[in-house]
Amino acid sequence: MRLSSKVTTLLILAAVIAIAPVFFPSSYYFRVGSLIFVNGLAVAGLVILIGYAGQISLGHAGFAGIGAYACALAPVHLGLHPALAALLGALLSAAIAYLVGRPILRLKGYYLAVASLGFGILVSMVLSNEAQLTGGPDGMAVPELGLRAVLKAIGIDLSNTEFWYAFSGLVLVLGAWLALNLYHSPTGRALRALHGSEVAARTVGVDVAHYKLVAFVISAVYASVSGSLLALQNKFITPDVAGFMHSIEMVTMTVLGGAGSVLGAILGAAILTTLPQVLTIFQEYEQLMLGLVMMLVMIFMREGLLPSIARRIRGRAE
């Protein structure tokens, strides 16, 4: 039996997440792992926007910021449970993405890049300037999710890092599954069509503006949930989560691994998340190395790491 690429991807992802802990020498690795999954989720969303629909956003950290601060603010001010607060953040992100996306998605290329960048910077500016609400640049505390206590009560006792590894891993697999399903759906086909040529897509009856907006809103929800998970996991949040550099990191992870492939993009997230951890010994060289990796991959492997490697292996086999 030949497995579809969707099932293969999900199996590889789930297997790696489940088996990797066997090789973890300390709880620190669970922490790095869960950071990879959180970033991987945001990146899976960007695959829909960049890889499927061929649009760019340099402001998606703004949505991560909305998701993160929803988890910090809603429990305190609205008395919501943190899980509901994350949901509220996702809804808010979707609504804002809808309102912002309508006008800016008319733009293309660099113009779209700068418009989305402007949006992201506005969000991070509000978060750092409204100090009486958000604690300003010093950040603010985020309440406990409480799911770990529930699991303990029914007999599953996990350490904090283990719990977050498992939980964000689960959310990532779910997110990847949804993104892969979308690829083969009519919406996914419409997105790929308009990626190839907007004019051609319009000619065959694809509502280009509508589908671009759909991709933008979905990817915003992914970024928002990723921000919520990060906030709940760290129990603390600063406006950096919405900052320009975070937006750049997200896009770089996506394109580095391969924007056209969910698995590739998650690999990109894994590499860029671990790189600074590995380089802590050479902390001075961190920026130098990051910049170099970004340039080299984009010059020599234009489709991103995974698709380029896959092609090379396939080429050799034939």
Binding site: I104, L107, Y110, V114, V199, G291, L292, M294, R302
Partner: protein
């Protein structure tokens, strides 16, 4: 009234720096269709190299000259090593390459020099000049004069010299330019050298006022980019006017609304301009070939 004049003067000073960065963007964008996010790093390099050359005992003008030449060489290297090999890559890849270059240059500067904030003396002293109740630093006049001089030189270069026209021809159609005998590789090298040199000049002029350190480049690149877009990408006149407008706008917002949100005002106006006239103030309408 003196208050308004004061905001206007400081706005024009900052705006002149944005205009210089935007002019640098424009040259590279015209020649290669690449928006160079590392443009701000040229400004940073101009300031940092001048400081360290000056600190090593060189007279200020010589230090500034060395800074401009070294930065121009780095600009050429950027083109040869990173932009040229990626010719024809999608916009997303080019954005990541130039942002990667910007992070790389920042990391290298921090290693070669340091992470401190630096300043060298102003060219004509620090005694403020009084104009109608407002004050302006002599160095601000240097910055404004620098931006205007660069603009005039560029205008003459593009309209009155053969090589300037060759740059425009390359921008218009690379293959056609090659066919009429233009050495397009030379044009690209020249464009990156000029753009980097203009960025470095901006760094040299503004460092006595705003100080410099290894990480000032990114913010400048974003503002310069916004200014170029406000005026219309690829248009030198747009870059100058866009830069000055942005600077004045920021100063007015800081003065009359809120200094915390001065950057926000800039981006809100840019979003508004992009919606109302996506080609910027001076850009030409473009139609896609199908």
């Amino acid at each position: 009234m003196p208050e308004l004049l004061q905001f206007l003067l400081s706005g024009i000073t900052v705006g002149a720096v944005y205009a210089l960065v935007a002019l640098g963007f424009t040259i590279i964008y015209n020649a290669s269709d690449v928006v160079n996010f590392a443009q701000g790093e040229f400004v940073m390099l101009g300031g940092m190299i001048t400081f360290f050359a000056h600190a090593a005992g060189l007279p200020l003008p010589l230090a500034a000259l060395i800074a401009i030449i070294v930065t121009a060489a780095i600009g050429v290297a950027l083109n040869k090593l990173a932009i040229e090999p990626a010719r024809g890559a999608p916009v997303v890849s080019l954005i990541i390459i130039t942002i990667g270059a910007s992070i790389f240059i920042r990391g290298a500067t921090q290693l070669v020099f340091d992470k401190q904030i630096h300043r060298f003396p102003a060219f004509s002293g620090d005694q403020p000049i009084l104009i109608g109740g407002a004050t302006i630093l002599p160095q601000s006049l240097w910055v404004i004069a620098g931006a205007l001089a660069v603009f005039v030189c560029l205008w003459l270069f593009f309209t009155r010299t053969l090589i300037g026209r060759a740059v425009l021809a390359t921008a218009n159609n690379r293959v056609a330019a090659q066919l009429v005998g233009i050495n397009t590789n030379y044009v690209m090298t020249l464009s990156f050298a000029m753009s980097a040199a203009i960025g470095a000049l901006a760094g040299v002029l503004v460092t006595p006022i705003t100080l410099t350190s290894y990480d000032v480049g990114l913010a400048l690149a974003l503002k310069g980019f916004a200014a170029a877009m406000l005026g219309g990408m690829g248009n030198p006149k747009g870059a100058l006017v866009g830069g000055l407008l942005l600077g004045v706008l920021e100063a007015m917002t800081a003065g009359y609304v809120s200094s915390q949100y001065k950057d926000a005002a800039a981006f809100i106006v840019i979003l508004a301009v992009l919606f109302a006239m996506p080609q910027g103030l001076f850009g030409r309408k473009s139609t896609d070939r199908v």
